[in-house]
Symmetry: C2
Subunit: 335 residues, 2 copies
DNA sequence: ATGAAAGCGCTAACAT
DNA sequence: ATGTTAGCGCTTTCAT
């Protein structure tokens, strides 16, 4: 059915290995046969069978990306999927396919990821840290299989490669910006305490603020209602009444805004706001919120790039933190 | 390096084809050799090489999903990625891998999708309709390659298979619900006019409303600001002043809410609101908004299922519309 | 610069 | 019920 190297070889009158050489750009080929082969390939509308090619070469020309499924929280999936798209783009430019796979393992079956690796379907893996259990981690390490974590693992002792956003730096940027604008008592409004990055954001705040004031972290569940209540309490606390908030995400910021309206506190005059993330609300609030933007595209791209390096040659583990960007808007424009 | 069927065959003292038969669950195998082979496989920690297997079987055991890249609008990507996860889950249960690929074609290269298909890397394709140009469509049809559109194509004449959400039905549900609650003059607040589903939502509204009133569609750009202005105008129009709105998405609803606060109109007493989509804001607004929810998981799952049917045996094209669900909340609770 | 032949690891048609 | 053999379509020695 399909056109093969043999067909081209017959048509041109050479051996199939010669065709292969031409198609793979080997140098020691006479200009004449090269042209003839290429012409024939075009005429016959030849497309290499990548499966056969991969079998012969002993590679799969694919990487696997493990989906962030256990964390099915809609919001974080959004950021993850942005990175996923960027990974695909990078992979394409390196000539790799991207196979996605959930980490979910049903019943007694082997985990789909283990299958992906052991069955030689992928040459490398991009994984959210929590998706790898101890067993799988062992397997990968023992066979020296290339993988990169998309996000910093909680157990920081591990000698593994990862790429993550510099959440702590984001907090520091926010703190610096708020002080620069004249705010004096800065409160951190926390988010869903289960998410790893929330801890990093809080720690970053705590570290950065110490030079100026006692840290003031108010925890919330990450929902607007929860943030509304928590921020209300904070503003009723007359002793340490904040004049600025750093919100852990757009939803807590949304809740905070409700409280401020209720208390008739003016933003940015009486209260300044910086929020983490520039989605889905920051720019649409009234006033638009100064935001710590994270580059999820870059995250995916760097993650993929790091993986390809590791696939091409073994190397010691690397870690990379990507800078956040402060987008200044009305909510911190104190006169 | 890796363990092969040969290794097992040698160890057990049978031929590799026998091993293959056992591993593939053929019936005419003596219980004894079956056990010996399976034991040996386990002992040697055998994993089949899927590339070799695919080459021999002439299939790839993979499907391709084309990424919604040209439409990089963050919001719609969110819904798409939800479907993507569901596709992966379905594929896994059918024993297929999912390869993602952007449709973006750089320079003179062939499109990545065409490569995916022609190089036998995938057995079927799930595609957002716009991602397929006329040429590629021809290629696929001529070779009878199985594919399913994720979303209804704009050119409705095409005899192709697709799965989509029943947007028009959603509008009809909203209209019926609002009338039932006693609202009388229902206005549709449109969204980004470039999105295909927006047209469907508007048409659904227009059709459903005709029994009751003259259709009243107010267009917006899909941003909160735009929706705020447009809804303000609508409410100033004394002749046909609406007492209810159907919003094309959560962002237009957000804009509308600003206007209503400004005009001090009470929701749900003076104005009722139904919004399309239950993300990211509908449940967090004050009051929480009645929403037309769409099941993006189901969308992905059905799309995949349809594709697998078509891969297994050729069949006439099918189309499927998935029902929307009305989630009733405070914003339509007229006393 | 090119041909011949072996082989990647598996499955399947044909024997027995 | 099992062994033999021939591929799947490509790459890659090893010759010449």
């Amino acid at each position: 059915m399909a056109v093969t190297v043999q067909d081209i070889a017959r048509k041109v009158g050479v051996n199939s290995s010669t065709v292969s050489r031409v198609l793979n750009g080997y140098r020691n080929i006479s200009e004449e046969t090269r042209r003839k082969v290429l012409d024939a390939a075009r005429e016959l509308n030849y497309h290499p069978n990548s499966i056969a090619r991969n079998l012969a070469k002993g590679s799969s020309a694919s990487i696997g990306v493990v989906l962030d499924a256990s964390n099915s929280e809609e919001f974080s999936n959004f950021f993850f999927s942005r990175s996923l798209f960027a990974i695909e783009r990078a992979a394409q430019s390196y000539g790799y396919n991207v196979i996605i796979s959930s980490s979910y393992k049903e019943g007694e079956k082997r985990s789909p990821i283990e299958d992906l690796v052991m069955q030689k379907q992928v040459d490398g893996l991009i994984v959210p840290p929590f998706a790898l259990d101890a067993h799988l981690l062992d397997v990968l390490n023992n066979m020296n299989f290339p993988y990169v974590f998309l996000g910093q693992p909680a157990r920081s002792g591990l000698q593994v490669s990862w790429v993550d956003l510099h959440n702590a730096q984001g907090s520091a940027q926010a703190v610096a910006h708020l002080y620069e604008r004249g705010y004096q008592r800065i409160c951190f409004l926390g988010g869903n305490p289960d998410a790893g990055f929330v801890k990093q954001r809080i720690t970053g705040y705590t570290d950065a603020i110490e030079a100026h004031q006692k840290p003031y972290v108010v925890n919330t569940k990450g929902t607007p209602e929860s943030a509304e209540k928590a921020s209300y309490q904070a503003l009723k606390n007359m002793e340490e009444k904040p004049d600025a908030f750093i919100c852990c995400d757009n939803y807590t910021a949304f809740g905070l805004m409700s409280t401020l309206k209720r208390l008739q506190l003016n933003v940015p005059k009486q209260v300044g706001i910086v929020t983490f993330d520039n989605f889905p609300l920051a720019e649409f609030m009234d006033p638009p919120l100064t935001a710590i933007d994270i580059d999820t595209d870059l995250l995916g791209e760097q993650c993929a790039t790091m993986l390809f390096q590791r696939i091409e040659k073994p190397m010691p583990s690397q870690q990379m933190l990507l800078s956040t960007t402060l987008i200044k808007r009305k909510s911190t424009e104190r006169a």
